[in-house]
Amino acid sequence: MDIWRELLRVLADTRVSGIIVSVVLITGLGYVLTAGRVFSDRFEKEISRLVLVAAVPALSFNSFMQPLDIRALRQGMTLIAWTLFSMRFCW
């Protein structure tokens, strides 16, 4: 496998490059607007609550709205075991 060619191919994938650029630009926007006092400390706390109380629960719940797949269920159980293993491994 020509690693550089594969690397360029992956970076040229608009889904991957779109995510990378979005993370960098939106994080940068948050930094600039907070450092420039456009956003207050209260804004950060309230948006954080919105994300934790509404957006992530909605994302998590909606992701299960699909047909039951036994293979995915087995994978999920394996992943829970991997979580415990990863925690122990890192600690």
Binding site: I20, G30, F43, L50, A58, F64, L79, R88
Partner: protein, 255 residues
């Protein structure tokens, strides 16, 4: 295993314990899940949410015991169970698992469980979907806000321990987890799909979780060190994210 080896030069055992905790527990909910969802879709979110259930239970119990040096109370257990993310995940998981047993309705030409709101009640599913789509961009905006409100450039840039921690958290920990999962795949232990492997790597690359930072402030366990490490890990995680996305895509292409 990683933490005692990585922080052997830190002289204080208490400091090593705190560094071990913040190295292990990342902000999987705010950083990890939205990214996994954006890249790998609903299947990725299912895996990440299941990973996150065990993770959050440990975060609210084991981390609390280790940092506060107290026992878990009933109130603490209730806090885990009424957390909106845990409730939504368990509710979604229950709906997903019990589909064959639930009463079915005909939608178009398919029989689906009556509570499959994506099919039976799109008017309810759509607002939830709008809220869900806010998770990723708002989380990234929050990371930027956290950097903008707390970053004192000279103080942060000169803290070598914080940068060492950041590199370890964002690069070394996911690399070791990814390596161990791949090694187990080769010998046929705990088979996980590429999406599952990607979920593990991206969740482990998340910056420091805010919960241990709050505990460290409340229980006076090196709060300045955890705050600096948390800020630096936000920067290193953003630097590491493109690297991990490319590595995971290379694994997918190669594999």
């Amino acid at each position: 295993m990683i933490s005692p080896l990585a922080y052997w030069r830190v002289s204080s055992a208490d400091q090593r314990r705190i560094l071990g905790i913040i190295t292990t527990f990342g902000s999987t909910t705010v950083f990890g899940i939205p990214i996994v969802g954006a890249v790998y879709g609903a299947r990725g979110v299912i895996y990440a949410s299941l990973f996150n259930i065990a993770y959050r239970i440990l975060l609210y119990t084991y981390v609390y015991i280790r940092m506060s040096k107290q026992q878990v109370t009933l109130r603490q257990m209730m806090k885990i169970l009424v957390n909106p993310i845990v409730v939504a995940t368990l509710l979604g998981l229950g709906c997903w698992l019990f589909q064959p047993l639930a009463p079915h309705v005909i939608v178009g030409q398919h029989l689906v469980a009556f509570y499959r709101i994506d099919q039976t009640a799109p008017w309810l599913y759509q607002p939830l979907q709008y809220l869900a789509s806010l998770a990723a961009p708002l989380s990234w905006l929050l990371v930027g806000c956290a950097l903008g409100s707390r970053l004192s450039p000279t103080e942060i840039l000169t803290d070598r321990l914080a940068w060492y921690y950041g590199a370890l958290k964002s690069f070394m920990v996911p690399a070791v987890c990814l390596g161990s999962v791949e090694a187990c795949q080769l010998v046929g232990i705990g088979q996980v799909s590429l999406t599952g492997i990607a979920a593990i790597a991206l969740l482990m690359c998340s910056p420091t979780s805010t919960i241990p930072v709050v505990y460290s402030v409340n229980y006076h366990q090196y709060p300045l060190m955890t705050a600096k490490c948390s800020i630096v890990s936000n920067i290193t995680s953003i630097m590491a994210l493109p690297v991990w996305l490319v590595v995971l895509n290379l694994i997918r292409v190669g594999g």
